[in-house]
């Protein structure tokens, strides 16, 4: 997709590489090393092909590297499952539906339900907040801002992606919490009749704070990938829309957004992947509670990754197995999300491929 400009660049480069050799004229022994050798194009008998060359060596190397990925994945899966299964067998409750998490007791009781719920809810909040903002920034950078402004601004966005998540976590807990608490109290006062914003308090260290911190963290990824995609829209399609009498926004809706859709979905999924797997920022901002609760603003919430970080230190054998089992669930959630995204992209592939 969008390979038109780069293809033409390559074509030019290829031409330049070939021309000088042609220009020397054929049959004049123009080998660079020795004038007695036959010309590069041959002339004598056809030589045998080399049996062991850099070609075969590199081919073997890359095949081995590819095979290694599979081996590593299988090894990790075997390790995780072998640790998780004994803990699951020792569990005295249903792993999938139980809310409580007491795997270290002599009669272990633990379940993934509350954790999985918190993980998904915080990630959904993050995406709902971040994606519209990220797409607006990406469109601004690619189609509205003058280049002098777009380049430094894009750089700042990329810088934001490089901030370590523990910094976001600390900032969220120490600085961002107060404004979110004030906002939560305001929401509770005026919109308390909506269950999402109800409750008696205390507010602040809530799933909303965690979700908003996550939103700030996924914003740069989604923004810079979407910007790349939008910039790749073929100029001739943009011109076609403009020539039909489209305003700039109509041009974006007709040519840029449909063209960029698969890329934007991929960008959002990468952002979601980061949000789902995020550990330390949520461990620092949520006040832990093992409940399934749609209230966004009351203290509480938890996520699979944050729980692993919080509980691993004090866990015994069964406790560690239980945490590993929860990690497997996180892996399954991420996998389902990714496969859904691929399915969405795949469905319209015909339209995308024929465009290339």
């Amino acid at each position: 997709m969008g390979d038109y400009p780069s293809r033409s660049v390559n074509a030019t480069a290829g031409d330049l590489g070939v021309t000088p050799r042609h220009a020397q004229g054929a049959g004049y022994g123009n080998s660079p090393s020795n004038y007695n050798e036959p010309p590069l194009g041959g002339g004598g008998a056809l030589p045998k092909k080399t049996r062991f060359s850099i070609e075969t060596g590199f081919r073997g190397l890359s095949t081995a590297a590819g095979a290694m990925v599979l081996v590593i994945i299988v090894a990790i899966a075997v390790f995780l499952i072998s640790k998780a299964v004994p803990a699951l067998q020792a569990n005295n409750a249903s792993f999938l539906t139980e809310l409580k998490w007491f795997p270290n007791d002599t009669e272990p009781v633990f379940g993934i339900a509350a954790l999985a719920f918190g993980t998904v809810l915080s990630s959904i909040i993050a995406l709902i907040v971040a994606v519209p903002i990220a797409l607006s920034i990406a469109l601004f950078l690619s189609h509205y801002a003058p280049r002098r402004l777009a380049t430094p601004l894009g750089f700042v966005i990329d810088l934001l992606a490089a901030v370590p998540s523990v910094v976001f976590g600390l900032w969220g807990r120490d600085v961002f919490q107060q404004p979110v608490r004030d906002f939560s109290i305001w929401l509770n006062e005026y919109f308390g009749w909506i269950p999402l914003f109800g409750g008696e308090g205390p507010f602040g260290q809530s799933i909303m704070l965690g979700g908003l911190v996550l939103a700030i963290m996924v914003l740069p990824i989604v923004t810079s990938l979407s910007r790349e995609v939008f910039q790749q829209t073929p100029g001739m399609n943009e011109e076609a829309a403009l020539a039909l009498g489209a305003t700039r926004w109509e041009m974006i809706r007709t040519a840029v957004l449909p063209y960029g859709k698969p890329g934007v979905i991929a960008a959002v999924m990468l952002g979601l992947g980061r949000a789902l797997g995020e550990t330390i920022a949520l461990a620092l901002t949520l006040s832990i509670a093992f409940k399934i609760n749609f209230n966004l603003i009351e203290n509480g919430g938890n996520s699979i990754a944050a729980n692993i970080a919080n509980a691993f230190g004090e866990a015994n054998e069964t406790g560690r197995g239980a945490l590993i089992a929860s990690g497997l669930v996180l892996f399954v959630i991420t996998l389902v999300v990714n496969m859904t995204a691929r399915a969405i992209i795949y469905r319209r592939r015909e339209f995308r491929d024929s465009a290339a």
Partner: protein
């Protein structure tokens, strides 16, 4: 359903570079006008100035006056999107929207202008595809991707997309340069057909094509690279190709130039 275009002393710039220098010509309604000349002589720039596509590039501007039936195209109060609806454009490389089907491509312009009613869209799609001589080839696969057609079919789809909004003038920027001779012939036949309804201005490098299809021909040229392009001669096609008044024109059409 066709209007007169009048250009007087039009000069177009890219930043500080002057691409064409005071071009004046009048294009009568329901005629085909061909613009010929060597590469870089400004004929495409002039063409893009007519529907204000020139100014899409940063730093591009024009001087002089361009009118369509005595209305100033470059009047600051004029809505530029209305100009482009009135003066449609077909580009050098076929550029159907890759994410859209054949049907969606054909009605893209109508949808942009707020037409939502299915029956109107269906009717316009069929009419424009028929006008573009494409209907019989695609009527059974309107929901297939527009970019999956052959190059010549894609270009006719782009023509259908352009004429679906019923413009007054159709500009064509080397519409056949990426096509084989058979597809080229199909497009030329189409131009004759469209001449009854639209004013057509076509840029072409193919002099036989200019001689075959056009009523009037304008010859552009430059003295050397970096100089602005000028309109050297503008007259009936018959006259340009048989008895041009300018020496430069004669050199060019007989192949003794550039």
């Amino acid at each position: 359903m066709a209007k007169r275009i009048e250009a007087s002393n039009v000069s177009s710039y890219y930043g500080s570079f002057k691409a064409i220098d005071s071009v004046s010509m009048t294009v009568e309604p329901k005629t085909i006008t061909a613009l010929i000349g060597p590469s870089g002589c400004g004929k495409s720039t002039f063409l893009r100035s007519i529907n204000r596509m020139h100014e899409v590039l940063p730093g591009a501007r024009i001087e002089g006056s361009l009118t369509i039936d005595d209305q100033n195209i470059y009047d600051p109060d004029v809505d530029v999107t209305a100009v482009r609806r009135m003066i449609g454009m077909v580009f050098q490389r076929p550029n159907p929207f890759p994410t859209m089907s054949i049907y969606e491509n054909a009605v893209a312009g109508l949808k942009l202008n707020g037409v939502r009613k299915k029956s109107l869209l269906d009717e316009a799609a069929e009419k424009s595809l028929r006008s573009a001589n494409l209907w019989d080839e695609v009527k059974d696969r309107l929901d297939r991707p527009g970019a999956g057609l052959s190059g010549g079919q894609q270009q006719r789809l782009c023509i259908a997309r352009t004429i679906a909004v019923e413009p007054q003038v159709v500009l064509m920027d080397e519409p056949c340069s990426a096509l084989d001779p058979i597809s080229t012939l199909a497009i030329e036949d189409l131009m004759f057909k469209l001449k009854d309804r639209f004013t057509i201005i076509i840029v072409t490098h193919n002099m036989q094509q200019a001689a075959r299809v056009s009523d009037k021909t304008g010859f552009f040229s430059i003295d050397k690279t970096g100089d602005p392009g000028r309109l050297i001669e503008y007259d009936d096609t018959q006259k340009i190709f048989s008895n041009p008044t300018q020496r430069k024109t004669e050199d060019y059409i007989t192949g003794r130039f550039g």
